[in-house]
Symmetry: C2
Subunit: 438 residues, 2 copies
């Protein structure tokens, strides 16, 4: 099976664990059988590989997520990088061209497209494989997955099939309804539209060429910024006459808010947290080093990270986005393919950061115009290159770099250092990268 | 007026803002008229000086609070330092001896003793002055203040006076009752015992000599550790026949728990905090650099500091102590007379701290057996002395100190530095102090 996972969004609705560069799909919140924690994207990837070890997985995403994806899934996973956000039709067209032109997949083959962040069990991925098989048959140009509704939700669009058979032609689509209207749809046999579908790649490439003037993947990639944002539903699905829907009745949760996310968590406390006996329905997700103590709370989620602290009634947590938009805060931590960083002190003319570099990884060779820097190595071994001079480093070593000085560090074992930035105008934009000449 | 303020307690009931070395009375939580914040002890001290500019104020406390007191009240305030905790009778005897033998106060003068942490207005201190005046008259050996009860509290002992006059002889004392019994006491004209009283100093010195074999303050101080812990109520008050009570009907709040403390706060948010419109009765007290967002909560206190995060129903917050006892956490920050420190990163073989030194202050000249240290100056100016060598320092300077090396730093202007401690056995106990020879 070929599968494209759509990985988007800034993840503000799961603040403070998600931020502009760490989306919800990368939060390690689900306990695995061996006691470790995995993220949504790790869980989904593992499930796909369990059901179909040979599956070709491609993640369609923006460039800000590339390092987090490699960090969590390794280097083998395919990534179709969108140069900027242009909604789902350009993203799916680009990922399809990537599969055909870069990965060399036969355009006669089918591909399944689905969001990266459903909380599901293995049955779902078995159903995706059947969906792909149905697309292979060529009875229809597109085969949607229709989720059997469990309640008259106002959050989803509805698909009304021609018949009650497992696979049927689509009669019509309905926009997100009110609950009363949703009940009426369900009486007519309607299914939720979860944005999951399969098609033969040549079909979407043909649609893409009808709407966009391009030759191949590289050309499409280079023109991406000039494309008009348009959704795949609007550009393709709603206009297609020859379209089928396949029913799916297994577990399928949309984990977009703290309310639904905590429903899917096996444990009430992740990280350092204690609650007294008077708490009920409380979840603590704490990524800070200090403990959280909850007393006498009901149906509340507490989440703490270096970005901030959320304490919310679970239902109210759905309305978080405008408040997070207001915060306009500096990014305080990030996980990258090379390691991670965490801001540990902020002053008007200094910024102190803890940097962790994974074994074998290094920073870019770079300099800053307006700040000096000091590194204090706190663990691990490696080497620094400062203005072309290489030096071995270990815990306790100190490296000072004046503004303008070119520098990098290479980790020979996992390397942790405290970086103190000093200057009147400290900014993440103040970074010039250079080629390193050994 | 001579006044002794009893400042005790580890303040666990106001965790995480209070810890073993910062008690609740030092938390800057009350907004003053000029928009700054002051602590309980600062507020009480300011109020005393407003009512009686010439008042001699002595704080009876343990040595762990001395630097916080000087930091908040300056150097002039008198401090009677208890070498260890031995309950209120030895503490009051020591403070009285301190006033007579060290401060040179005439033992014929009266002194008022009261806790350091009531939340009261100026009327209370006017009443203390009258209490002192009543003790001056010599009609009784002890004059207690009796608070007019506002409800049948189970939290206080009760004083039953002989009459309803403003000042009356005490008929009897009652232990903390049930609410029903308290109602009966109140019908009999009982008053709350708030632990506030006045006496002529010679009276308490006489009682002290009856119970303890000592000559003067220095002798009592040197014997302090061998003294039997006993409360002033038990040793003196309950045994005294010639005792009066003076009524007080003004505002008087006991700020021992988050529930009562937040009642006394003028603002709902201190520090970075936001709440949505669905919150009611919520208080946020945030000493961290990152924002707190509260949504849909009712009658909840949220308090965050480098020690941890509390989220509690206000009534439940009274039961916090056993949970905090369980935490057994490293001290993460402290305010001292010389400045403050905050732990900003903890690793298995390193500890990173931000140190702030006030102008003119310095550390002890010291060394460590089992750790190296690195200082990175982030702001201010001063000088370091390392193994006898003096060096001027400014922002950006780096000082490295191997284990065994003697070092100190002197702040010429307010000085901030990042201290990285490196070693396999980092401990606050690993510190040898030396005399500095210039």
């Amino acid at each position: 099976m070929n599968i494209v996972l759509l990985s988007g969004g800034s993840g503000k609705r799961l603040w403070p664990l998600s931020n502009d560069i760490r989306s919800k799909q990368f939060i390690k919140i689900f306990k695995t059988e061996d006691g470790a924690y995995e993220s949504m994207v790790q869980r989904v990837y593992r499930q796909i590989k369990t059901v179909d070890a040979d599956a070709t997985v491609t993640i369609a995403t923006g460039k800000t997520q590339v390092s987090a994806i490699h960090n969590q899934l390794g280097e083998e996973v395919g990534i179709s990088v969108e140069p900027c956000r242009r909604d789902t039709f350009p993203a799916i067209a680009l990922a399809t061209a990537y599969l055909v032109d870069i990965q060399g997949v036969d355009p006669e083959e089918s591909v399944v497209v689905c969001p990266v962040d459903p909380y599901v069990d293995d049955d779902y991925f078995k159903a995706l494989k059947e969906l792909s098989g149905q697309a292979d048959k060529g009875e229809a140009n597109l085969v949607l997955m229709g989720m059997e509704p469990t309640y008259p939700s106002e959050k989803y669009g509805y698909i009304i099939p021609e018949s009650e058979e497992r696979t049927a032609a689509v009669k019509t689509f309905k926009e997100k309804p009110t609950a009363a209207v949703a009940e009426e749809y369900i009486r007519q046999g309607a299914l939720w539209n979860g944005g999951v579908f399969a098609y033969k790649m040549k079909y979407v490439l043909k649609k893409a060429h009808e709407l966009i003037d391009f030759t191949d993947y590289d050309d499409l990639f280079s023109k991406y910024e000039s494309l008009r944002p348009i959704s795949f539903d609007y550009a393709v699905v709603e206009k297609e006459e020859n379209i089928q829907v396949m029913r799916f009745a297994g577990e399928w949760k949309d984990l977009g808010t703290w309310n639904t996310l905590t429903e899917a968590m096996e444990e009430n406390v992740v990280g350092k947290g204690t609650m007294n006996g008077e708490c009920s329905g409380v979840h603590i997700i704490n990524e800070m080093d200090v403990p959280v103590l909850a007393m006498g709370l009901h149906d509340v989620v507490i989440s703490a990270s270096p970005e901030g602290i959320l304490v919310s009634d679970k239902v109210q947590s759905s309305y978080i986005k405008p408040f997070v938009d207001e915060l306009d805060q500096q990014i305080m931590f990030a996980e990258k393919s090379w390691g991670s960083f965490k801001v540990i002190d902020v002053e008007s003319e200094s910024l102190t950061i803890k940097v962790t570099l994974h074994t074998g990884h290094s920073m870019n060779y770079h300099s800053h115009k307006n700040r000096d820097e000091v590194w204090v190595v706190i663990s691990g071994t490696g080497k620094t290159i400062v203005d072309g001079m290489t030096q071995s480093i270990k815990a306790g070593d100190v490296i000072t770099m004046s503004a303008g000085c070119r520098h990098t560090v290479v980790a020979e074992s996992e390397l942790k250092l405290i970086e103190v930035q000093l200057g009147k105008e400290i900014s993440v934009q103040d970074k010039q990268k250079f080629e390193l000449e050994y």
